[in-house]
Subunit: 148 residues, 2 copies
């Protein structure tokens, strides 16, 4: 009979939804517990969605800069919480454009190269018809946890 | 700023697909690592699907008993591996009837009361059009990890 080897994740990527702090804190709590326990690197990412940038914004660099600054502020808040918790290696990752899930799958994951993706759950479990976390759980080539 | 509390799971439920040993071993490896590290109870479940029982089987108690015995043998193999790994509290759970995901969601989860569900991934990530693991990640009221 085969022998079982432990699986510990080395690079954990946490996805943050700027509009859902409760889900973020739960997902963060799991991610930092794992990262601290197993000495993993932690990336914390969020995406400025294409739909969030209207034509007026895109023609007004100051407005776009404000939105980017707000996104970075949210990410950095969670980065600080992770460091306070005791995770040594924490990387903020801000990204923008297109669909959130495509941006995570096609840009952020290939760059950060995680072996585990940590997602929060939508508020009531089925907030969107087909939530981003479920899309990621389906499409990512790495392990995905949806934290509830 | 809020303070982050660690999240550790106390009751971990591993779902086994009798037809996909490679996915099972990966998911088991993650589940036992967590259960041993955090002292969690581990349930290992598999479902004899309604579709796997044809009319001939259902009219032939011996055939049905053979199928049940085969399912228990598979589950017990993983239970033994988990115990060999060092997990103290391991419970085999065999179930049957209807759809696998409904059986897990409506019967096994309410009985075992896990705070984490651990699922293997289909062989190529999208083996079925809409895999059981993804359905569970979407519908379960507890955290779900799809291990790849």
């Amino acid at each position: 009979m085969e022998k079982i080897e432990p699986i510990m994740f080395d690079r954990i990527l946490l996805t943050i939804d700027a509009d859902d702090p409760e889900a973020n804190v739960k997902a963060l709590s799991y991610a930092v517990t794992q990262a601290k326990e197993f000495g993993a690197a932690l990336g914390i990412c969020s995406v400025l969605e294409g739909d969030d940038i209207n034509i007026y914004d895109s023609l007004t660099p100051k407005r776009l800069d404000e939105k980017r600054a707000a996104l970075n502020e949210v990410i950095n808040k969670y980065v600080d919480l992770a460091k306070d918790f005791g995770v040594q290696d924490v990387t903020p990752i801000a990204s923008e454009g297109g669909d959130i899930d495509d941006q995570i799958l096609d840009t952020i994951i290939p760059n950060f190269n995680p072996d585990l993706l940590v997602c929060g759950a939508d508020k009531d479990g089925e907030h969107h018809f087909y939530s981003i976390s479920v899309k990621l759980a389906k499409k990512a080539k790495v392990s995905v946890i949806v934290v509830r």
